[in-house]
């Protein structure tokens, strides 16, 4: 008797369907492949990482992989690259988030402020960097923009009679922040611009008639309306920013020294270049813990925003 389970829903369409009778089965049966795969994907490597992090394990010096307790962790934390790596990670995530959200809001507001010739083209140009692969954008910036001899910036500097700057050598972290922001800003613009278009025009008009200036409208109407889209931007970008790798790999190799090394790159350096599996695993776990702290904070802050339907 399907109809008995079905009819109540026909009466109240907005309500969540009751899980009854045969309806329960397809539910969990169909979700389980995804959940199971993700669970395996998470638990197996993580378990191995935990195990590796507790033993002495170097691919270059095979021998008995004796249990060393937390030695790998102390090594990693006291490694001269750890403090700069952790600091750079936070600086990178923080500044790119700030740049893309603030500029994203301003640029989308600018585009929404008035009708002008070729707005569609401007929009397409603005979001283009989002589709460029990280290795390409890193190399383009490195060779065609930042290059101290033939780069565009060198030409601009010379035009004003200044000495061209070797960006990647002297301002490595800033350069990488610029490259990554260039990739992330379009995503923010894409989301925020669409969100602004959905803002009720009548509401805006009403506010204007009540004597609200453009600034008041922006602060009290537009910005609150953007809370949810901004939450989404912060969430998605944090996921990508915590593991920025290709941009560093192809430009500075983390240098000079540790000036542009983030945790992801530091662990790569330990793991694949020095073949120290134990220490790299310990580092990986520390990165996971840091990422999880960020994740918990973010999900607490905006998780409700994501799942609640307006």
């Amino acid at each position: 008797m399907n109809t008995s389970a079905v009819n109540p829903r026909l009466v109240k369409p907005g309500e969540a369907p009751q899980a009854k009778g045969r309806l329960v089965k397809p539910g969990w049966f169909l979700v389980s492949p995804s959940v199971l795969l993700l669970l395996i994907w998470m638990i197996v490597p993580l378990g191995m990482t935990i195990y590796f992090s507790l033993i002495r394990y170097n691919l270059l010096s095979p021998g008995d992989n004796e249990f060393v307790g937390l030695e790998n962790f102390t090594y990693f934390i006291t490694d001269s690259g750890f403090i700069p790596g952790a600091t750079n990670t936070l600086l990178l995530v923080g500044s790119v988030l700030a740049i893309s959200v603030i500029l994203g809001v301003l640029i989308s507001a600018l585009l929404e402020a008035s009708e002008f010739f070729g707005r569609g083209i401007v929009r397409v140009l603005l979001i283009s960097p989002f589709f460029i692969m990280p290795t390409v954008s890193a190399l383009i910036w490195k060779n065609l923009i930042f290059h101290p001899v033939s780069g565009i910036l060198a030409a601009v500097w010379k035009l004003f009679g200044a000495q061209p700057v070797d960006w990647l050598a002297h301002f490595p972290l800033l350069s990488i922040i610029i490259i990554v922001s260039w990739q992330c800003l379009p995503f923010a613009i894409l989301i925020l611009m669409t969100a602004m278009q959905s803002l009720d025009q009548e509401q805006k008009e009403a506010a204007r008639l009540d004597g609200a200036g453009p600034q008041a409208i922006f602060w009290h109407l537009t910005l609150p309306h953007l809370a949810r889209p901004i939450a989404v931007v912060v969430m998605i970008e944090t996921i990508f920013l915590l593991s920025v790798f290709a941009e560093i790999f192809t430009t500075t190799n983390g240098g000079p020294g540790y000036a542009s090394t983030n945790l992801a790159y530091l662990i790569y350096n330990q793991a694949l270049l020095q073949f120290d599996v134990g220490m790299a695993s310990a580092g990986g776990l520390i990165a996971v813990v840091i990422a999880n702290i960020a994740a918990i904070i973010l999900i607490r802050m905006i998780g409700k925003n994501l799942t609640d339907k307006q």
């Binding site: 399907n2 109809t3 079905v6 829903r9 026909l10 329960v24 397809p26 169909l30 979700v31 492949p33 959940v35 993700l38 994907w41 998470m42 197996v44 490597p45 191995m48 990482t49 590796f52 600018l110 008035s114 070729g118 401007v122 140009l125 283009s128 989002f130 589709f131 460029i132 290795t135 390409v136 190399l139 060779n143 065609l144 001899v149 033939s150 010379k158 035009l159 379009p186 989301i191 669409t194 969100a195 949810r228 889209p229 989404v232 944090t238 996921i239 915590l242 790798f245 290709a246 790999f249 992801a264 790569y268 694949l272 599996v277 790299a280 990165a287 990422a291 960020a294 999900i299 994501l306």
Partner: protein, 277 residues
């Protein structure tokens, strides 16, 4: 004195000019890359940078013999499409049951899925590398396809869930009363209704696979290496082949860029998990 209308128009022109200037600035690196790809190597390295020059196609002609471009491009195509199809096949049933048979645990399951994305890949690099080595999967397309399927699964489930949520349950009830099985319900009713949403989800998955540059750099060397790895190989200072680098990059990015331009509006809704309509 300016009239109100005049000042409005002036404001519009000013804001428009500013918008164009910002857009030009943001787009400049891409424009410059494409422009450089049509220069000779000498023009590409000239100081000051050349805006006007005799264009040449020689870089594009030389790409194939220099680096076997099509081998890498084929890998990119094969890996991205296989991973996307696999991912959709796993995600659609999951999203279906989460959207239409919601339980108390659905929301926390969704958030948990997203939280697996927070796991930085370096945290599991070593185990995955060793597992791949143990099973002889290093530098194989199969390894990348499996990994890409798994890393995109949470976002794909989320996006499809968002689209399915918008479909009134009554449509499914009707087909069920007509005696449709679950499979028929999904593939005969739901998928056709959600064509647009599924297409943009697939597109996002393709973009993410195409551009992924952590696993492809660490797990492949030559046999299965996609375009991201080919381009990264140009980062070593093996001479100043910037015009050729630009040409390879242009070829590697053009398909996805054009894809993206065409579908940008659809992408937004899925990407924002329904936060933006």
């Amino acid at each position: 004195m300016m009239t109100l209308k005049q000042s409005r128009r002036l404001q519009s022109v000013l804001l428009g000019t500013l918008s164009w200037a910002i857009a030009a600035l943001v787009f400049f690196p891409i424009f410059w890359m494409v422009l450089t790809s049509f220069k000779t190597e000498i023009d590409a390295f000239a100081t000051p940078p050349q805006f006007i020059f005799t264009p040449t196609l020689e870089n594009y002609l030389h790409i194939q013999e220099r680096s076997d471009y099509f081998h890498f491009a084929w890998n990119s195509i094969l890996i991205s499409f296989s991973a996307t199809i696999l991912c959709l096949l796993i995600a659609v049933p999951a999203a279906y049951s989460m959207a239409f048979f919601e339980t108390k645990r659905t929301k926390s399951t969704l958030l948990w899925m997203l939280s697996t994305k927070m796991l930085p890949p370096v945290g599991v690099l070593m185990p995955i590398y060793l597992l791949a080595k143990m099973f002889g999967l290093l530098d194989t397309r199969f390894a990348l396809i499996v990994i890409y399927t798994l890393i995109n699964l949470p976002i794909v489930v989320w996006m499809i869930y968002t689209y399915f949520k918008d479909i009134p349950g009554e449509i499914l009830e009707a087909s069920r009363l007509d005696g449709a099985t679950t499979a028929q319900e999904i593939f005969r009713v739901l998928v056709p209704i959600c064509k647009g949403g599924l297409a943009s989800t697939a597109l996002l998955s393709l973009i993410l696979c195409w551009n992924e540059a952590f696993w492809s750099l660490n797990l492949t060397s030559s046999n299965a290496a996609p375009l991201t790895a080919l381009i990264a190989s140009y980062s070593s200072p093996e001479g100043l082949f910037w015009a050729k680098l630009s040409a390879v990059s242009t070829l590697a990015c053009a398909p996805i860029l054009i894809f993206g331009w065409i579908s940008q509006k659809q992408l937004v809704r899925g990407l924002s998990f329904g936060a933006v309509k």
